[in-house]
């Protein structure tokens, strides 16, 4: 198992390097940054000064090595807009994004797992088809559109919940639900198919032959085996939720990392864009690693290998 984890770790490092390259390349490809920073009114001299100050006049490979080296030491550069180190900007906004991501994951699991179990227990029934329809709709519906629907209904008509900002926990309810919706279909399908496999397995037949209660057969013997991939995928999903919060944070005006990314993209604050992309990618990769670890802990067969 140690070699397995070591291999995953080396792989993760390679992926991070790839992300570094891509985020660097994308920001350089989107036009002349110095011109963008200087703004439309700037003279050619101003642009030249900016180019020199920020080091854009150096060859690209040099700039890249510089970016990788400083990123590795935790220095993600300074925001042109806020005149602050990017790492501090991210640190200030991270709690909001983490709260939103975890809340969304909780909502997603609380909806997806019970529905997946029920659908599996009545495979082919109306209940099953209804659940699968919800999954389909959830997958097809864009998050921002669902967000607007919920804002209109619960924020404006019923006035139950705030539609923007996060003064207290109520501000997280709608965005968490919207964000959860993107994770629910995958988690539910996974739970359902895992439970269908488990419920038709030989060991569940044994459990039934032992006269165990229905609750024990479904919630213990079947779910324990069906849950392994679900746990692994929910760690990965959390990464996707944190990354996917860009749109939702913008819609609900939650000042998290996603909002920061949206803001910096629209204002050409490219060190921030670059850093946020890298940061979210690293979180995603770390969560995937954690998912592998989870799997090893849950599955005794992997633990031994």
């Amino acid at each position: 198992m140690l070699t397995y984890l070591l291999r995953r770790f080396v792989l993760a490092l390679l992926v991070i390097f790839t992300v570094l390259t891509i985020s660097f390349a994308l920001t350089r490809l989107s036009g002349d940054i110095a011109v963008a920073i200087a703004g439309p009114a700037a003279s050619a001299e101003d642009v030249a000064v900016i180019r020199k100050t920020y080091g854009f006049d150096r060859p690209l490979p040099v700039q890249f090595v510089e970016w990788v080296r400083s990123a590795a030491s935790g220095d993600l550069g300074r925001s042109y807009l806020y005149r602050e180190p990017v790492s501090e900007l991210i640190r200030d906004r991270l709690p909001v994004t983490l709260k939103l991501g975890f809340a969304a994951l909780m909502v997603a699991l609380l909806v997806a797992i019970p529905l997946g179990i029920v659908a599996a227990m009545r495979e082919g029934s109306l209940v099953d088809r209804g659940v699968m329809l919800v999954a389909l709709v959830g997958q097809a519906m864009p998050g921002f559109w669902l967000a607007l629907l919920l804002i209109i209904q619960f924020g404006l008509r019923l006035q139950w919940l705030p539609i923007a900002g996060a003064e207290d926990w109520t501000g997280f309810v709608l965005p968490a639900i919207v964000l959860a919706f993107s994770a629910i279909p995958a988690l539910m399908r996974l739970t359902r198919s895992g439970m269908i496999d488990a419920l038709s397995s030989d060991y569940v037949r044994t459990a039934r032959a032992k006269g165990l209660s229905r609750a024990s057969i479904v919630m213990k013997h079947a779910l324990r085996n069906a849950a392994m991939p679900v746990v692994a995928v929910s760690a990965v999903q959390l990464g996707a939720l944190l990354g996917g919060s860009v749109v939702i944070e913008a819609v609900f005006a939650l000042h998290g990392v996603g909002f920061l990314a949206w803001e910096s993209i629209s204002k050409n604050d490219f060190p921030v864009v670059q850093a946020v992309v890298l940061f979210l990618a690293v979180i995603y990769i770390a969560l995937t690693l954690i998912a592998d670890l989870f799997n090893a802990v849950l599955d005794p067969r992997l633990r031994a290998a």
Binding site: Y203, R205, K210, G211, L212, P300, R301
Partner: protein
């Protein structure tokens, strides 16, 4: 029978399990079991023999009340210790299963849950039916593992199924089946998936356990070699029917149904088939029976088939306790 591991008859008269006219239909289109009747007495091993697809495993699952959705069961009588089981609710059936009636399966590799330790899986059946603490259950589990020939029982309790070989897992399944002192053990091809040497060990173990515990065993197998070694009574199944039923000695001495005879000709049973006889085979496979079928189901593969075989088949007596379904009088 002259066989080293057979025992003298210690068979009690009243049946532990009575099955009369058991019928199972799948999805309204396939008749998997068509009127099976059999008794299993205390201390007796009743072997249900037949080819793949003849309905023997489905019969066992039906007795346990473990048929899946889409299967419809009916019976004139399905009684355990004189109590009719057909009317019992799922909850009442679950109380019998694992307690008074235990079952082991063909696939020892997959029949244990990979996510739980041997100890936890063995203990839970005892806790479910007998209550008591986990400590008591685990002590009993360790004792039974030792009884079924598993080395280092204390260590095994903490192990997971993937750490054990197929033979060991089948021993664990047997020990788990014995946790609540069942009266009836249904064994569905318990040795089929195992190595030949391990097969013999497991069979010997079942015979010993029966002798010591007075178990009634319904053993499902396709292997006449197994039947010859352990059976007191044999029911031969074909296409969902018991075509011949007799005490094991009578069946091997005087097989009466053409299918039984053909089946016996296919296998070298020690002491029954002679070395100079070539081994036979039965061409074709067991047909899928659809509702409304009449006559003998074996007639398409039978060398004695006559026109009259398309009519209803009479049940003939070949001795006081030896019956077969055929137009032929032997």
């Amino acid at each position: 029978m002259d066989c080293a591991i057979c025992w003298g008859p210690r068979v009690t008269p009243e049946p532990v399990l009575e099955v009369r006219d058991l019928r199972i239909r799948f999805g309204g289109v396939v008749d998997a079991v068509r009127g099976v009747s059999l008794d299993v007495r205390g201390g007796e091993t009743h072997c249900l023999v037949g080819e793949s697809g003849c309905g023997k495993s489905v019969t066992a699952l039906a007795i346990m009340g473990l048929l899946g959705r889409g299967a419809v069961r009916s019976s004139a009588r399905l009684a355990f210790r004189g109590t009719e089981m057909a009317g019992l609710s799922e909850r009442e059936m679950a109380k019998l299963r694992g307690d008074k009636i235990a079952m082991i399966f063909q696939e020892p590799m997959t029949s244990l849950n990979p996510a739980f330790t041997i100890g936890s899986q063995m203990a839970e059946v005892f806790e479910r039916h007998r209550g008591g603490g986990r400590r008591v259950a685990l002590d009993r589990a360790a004792g039974l593992l030792g009884r079924v020939g598993v080395s280092a029982p204390g260590l095994r309790l903490a192990q997971y199924p993937h750490q054990l070989s197929g033979g060991l897992r089948q021993r664990v399944m047997i020990a788990m089946a014995l946790m609540c002192d069942p009266e009836l053990l249904i064994a569905d091809e318990p040795t089929t998936a195992l190595d030949v040497t391990v097969q013999a060990q497991i069979l010997r173990l079942l015979v010993e356990l029966q002798r010591d515990l007075g178990l009634a065993i319904l053993l499902i197998t396709h292997d006449l070699g197994v039947v010859a070694r352990v059976a007191h009574r044999v029911s031969v199944m074909y296409a969902g029917e018991v075509v011949e039923s007799a005490p094991a000695t009578d069946l091997f001495a005087a097989p009466s149904h053409p299918y039984t005879r053909a089946l016996l000709a296919c296998v070298p049973v020690p002491g029954v088939v002679r070395r100079d006889q070539p081994l036979g085979s039965i061409p074709g496979t067991v047909p899928r029976m659809e509702p409304g079928f009449t006559g003998c189901a074996f007639r398409a593969r039978c060398r004695y088939a006559m026109e009259v075989c398309a009519d209803d088949v009479p049940l003939r007596l070949q001795g006081p306790d030896h019956r077969y379904l055929c137009q032929l009088v032997v």
